[in-house]
Structures are given as C-alpha cells and as structure tokens.
C-alpha cells in the first residue's frame, strides 16, 4: 500500500506587492485600539494529501504550487511537511 504524505502550503504576496486586504485589516486593528500591530499581510494556505512516499512527493508538490496554487507573478509559496 502506498504511503500518504501530507503537506501544508502557504501562499503569500511577494514583498513589495500591495496587499489591500492586509492594509484594510491593519486599519481595522488600529481603530479597534491595537496600535502596537504595525503591519498585516494576508495570504492563504492549503492542506494537501498525496498518495506517495514523502521524498518522491516533493517535486510534484512544488510543481502544483508553481502551476496552480500560486501565481508566480505576484505570489511566493512555502511548503511544510508535518511529521
């Protein structure tokens, strides 16, 4: 039976790309009385389950991140594999 691999992918906007959602959330925090929060950046994350050994899944995970989950023009991604 094939092993299952889990991965968590975080996609975030590249540095320097304006994040209107983050800016708006940050403004809300200031209004709510949390002046010590100086910046908010938003992003999204995905939990993936893959039908293959952990090592051999890496290249495929990377591939789907580049092709679909993130738009390389504006976003970067990180992959974590929980034990």
């Amino acid at each position: 039976m094939a092993n299952k691999t889990k991965a968590v992918v975080h996609v975030r906007l590249k540095e320097g790309v304006l994040d209107p959602q983050g800016v708006t959330i940050h403004k809300a925090l200031l209004q709510m009385g949390y002046p010590e929060f100086t910046s908010v950046r938003s992003g999204r994350f995905f939990e993936l389950e893959i039908d293959s050994e952990s090592g051999s899944a890496d290249a495929r995970i990377e591939e789907v991140c580049r092709k679909l989950l993130a738009n390389p023009v504006i976003e970067t991604f990180t992959v974590e594999k929980p034990e």
């Binding site: 790309v17 304006l18 209107p20 959602q21 708006t24 679909l68 989950l69 738009n71 023009v73 504006i74």
Partner: protein
C-alpha cells in the same frame, strides 16, 4: 468573420458577447464549450466575462486548465485573434498569453460603472478604427481588475506601446481618481508582443448601442473585423 465565444462554468457575459457579434456586428458566431478542444474554424476567439469556476483560488486560475484553453493557446501561437474581456483577461494572464496579473481592486469593492478609456495605441488590430487619444465610454464590472506587473516590465510594455487602453477622466487625463481599481499606470487593456491577443477589463460587448448607454464598444469589434478582413484578403 466567424467568432467563437467560450463558455466556462460561471461565465456570465457569453450571451452578451454572442448577441453583440450576431445582432450588432452581424457576423457569424458560435459558442465554444470549455470541455471541447474544437474551435470550429473561428477567426476570433472571445473569452468572456463572468466568474469562471466561481473565481476560486484566483480569477481565471482554474479556467486556464480547461481543455478548450489548450486549443486557444495553440490558436494564439499561430497568430489567431483572441480577445479576453474581464474574467477573460484574467484567464489570459493566468495562462501566460498576456503578461502581469489582475489583483483585488485596491479599495476591495466590486466596481460596476461606466469608465472613460483613452485609446493609447490606435495601430493595434483591436483599435484600428479609432484614433490615438479617442475616449471610449465603456462599463466595467469587476472585483479583481487591479493590473499589476513588476515596474521594469511595465515600462517595457509602455515602451512597446502595448498598453492599448488607459482609464482617464472625461477630459482624457489619467488621474488617480479616474482609476477605478488601482491598476498600475491606469492600465485597462494590453496586447501581447505579436499584437494578436488583447485583454481588457472593461466590457465592450455591453456598449454596443446608444439606446443602452454607449456604442463605443462596437469600435473594438469593428476594429477586429477590419483586421480579420485585411488578413483574410476579404
């Protein structure tokens, strides 16, 4: 000229585009189903507005992997005319036929209103019946139309005159207040390097008759027809 209008699940301007071509432009038009790979011999492919795949992930991100898009990419590579409107523009940037990306509007609201577009380049196949500096009144309706590209690359687009339409005031000034979504340099529409693929956020197919508010969108369609007739020697 035969026009193909692609229908993705969630497209909602496909009938508008179909009606614009059939009843106003009075040319042949067919719907192209997203699961098909057959472009039915069309001379122009229109990727219409809407919310393909519910705009899940990012606008256009999933639609670009539809079977029909493989054919559209090949068609474009062989010089075929392709026009992406609104969600169609997003699909074109996602699949790499056009550079850059369309991000969430800077004010985070869905924006639905008439805008003024200045024709920046009247030598393209999509603007040939216009003159440079003409102002077209055409509606927008989008939440993710904020055109973004790296500074250096935007400059290259500008240098190559590939910015076709820019959001301006009624007087033709590209001011911040005339920019409905935060797009870099007020960019509303661009073409690819070869000039056969156009992407624009505003909806020319919704501005085809004076009685419905504006007929300025017709000039975009008339330009494409003129380009087709020149190429085909009609």
């Amino acid at each position: 000229m035969k026009v193909g209008v692609v229908t993705f699940p969630g497209s909602n301007c496909d009938y508008d585009a179909y009606a614009a071509v059939r009843f106003i432009l009075q040319e042949d038009v067919e719907f192209l189903w997203h699961k098909s790979q057959d472009l039915l011999g069309c001379d122009l492919v229109v990727l219409p507005g809407g919310f393909s795949y519910g705009d899940y992930l990012r606008g256009g991100a999933i639609a670009r992997f539809s079977p029909i898009m493989e054919s559209v990419v090949r068609f474009a590579a062989s010089g075929g005319l392709v026009m992406g409107i609104c969600n169609g523009f997003q699909v074109l940037t996602e699949c790499g036929l056009l550079p850059g990306a369309l991000m969430r509007n800077s004010h985070l609201r869905f924006s639905c209103k008439y805008v003024n577009l200045r024709v920046e380049n009247a030598a393209t196949r999509f603007t040939s019946v216009c003159r440079e500096g003409d102002i077209l009144r055409i509606p927008i309706a989008h939440g993710e139309g904020n055109y973004y590209f790296h500074d250096r690359d935007v400059q290259r687009l500008e240098d190559e005159s590939r910015v076709v339409f820019r959001y301006v005031t009624a007087d033709g000034e590209a001011t911040e207040s005339a920019n409905p979504n935060g797009s870099l340099n007020n960019i509303a529409g661009i073409v690819n390097a070869e000039g056969n693929v156009l992407g624009m956020m505003p909806h020319p197919e919704r501005a085809m008759e004076e009685i419905l508010g504006s007929a300025d969108g017709l000039r975009v369609f008339e330009s494409v027809r003129a380009a087709y007739q020149t190429t085909a020697g009609v």
